[in-house]
């Protein structure tokens, strides 16, 4: 029970709080970071740096656990291949990210901050995800 609902709910909430606290729910902050030739705002680098630092430690702990603390087993990506799909998809994602200054997490978190704008982004994002599924049969 706790592993199925409480832990992911807690994780999502802490994640959303972190995004808001770090200024990532304001597209102007994100776009300021991406504007390297203009009035550059390095805040996003601090957000990313803080998150990566904590996770570097978590990845050192993970192999020492035989199973996750709240049940289930570890189910982690094992793919190693650098494919055109990975690079092309990431390139596309960056373009969308640059246009509006939003990526999936802040888009969803901002539903309570600027509901209409965030909803337009999130619905369009889900439509894009669905399109990929449609073209691939099952992704």
């Amino acid at each position: 029970m706790s592993g199925r609902i409480v832990i992911p709910a807690l994780s999502g909430s802490i994640f959303g709080a972190g995004l808001a606290l770090g200024g990532m729910t304001d597209p102007a902050r994100v776009r300021g970071f991406l504007d390297i030739f203009g009035d550059w705002d390095p805040t996003l680098a601090f957000v990313m740096g803080g998150a990566v630092l904590v996770m570097v430690v978590a990845w050192q702990i993970q192999p020492r656990l035989t199973q996750p603390m709240f049940g289930g087993g570890f189910n982690l990506p094992g793919t190693q291949d650098l494919t055109p799909r990975l690079i092309g998809g990431s390139a596309l994602f960056g373009i969308g990210w640059g246009i509006a200054g939003l990526c999936p997490g802040p888009g969803i978190a901002a539903l309570v901050i600027e509901p209409v704008s965030a909803a337009i982004f999130v619905v369009a994002m889900l439509a894009g995800m669905f399109l990929v599924r449609l073209f691939e049969g099952n992704a």
Binding site: A9, R31, V47, V52, A58, F93, A109, A124, M129, F130
Partner: protein
Amino acid sequence: MTLPGFPDAAPLAGLAGGVLIGLAAALMLLGIGRIAGVSGIAARATGIADSSLPRISAWAFVIGLPVGALVVLLANGGLPANFASPVYLAIAGLIVGIGTRLGSGCTSGHGVCGMSRFSQRSIVATLTFMVTGFATVAVMNAMGLEVLP
């Protein structure tokens, strides 16, 4: 605290927010053995993609995101929010949706969880979307496209 040369940056709030994001991702990893990748979890919650994460867990995570943001919003008495116009938001959202599915992740899955694991795929993905993000803003600025208010 301000950063010399960057009066508008918020390094301490950024770092604190980043540490929270890292803790949230660590909780998913060490708590239930999954990657806190928002695009993948959102696709799982909506049934667009399949994964080993139970659907109810995906929804719990997705709903948590705005709940956590709401706490900060209320504690702060408001948050800055400069959003693009609906047309830009729709175009950007569509591209982000397609790109994150094809690229198997976004800023959280590849940027936070994958890079910290020193995953070659995630490092390449992150460098790629950073570069195209920089380029997109630079090109739009050069074209005189004002996106944000």
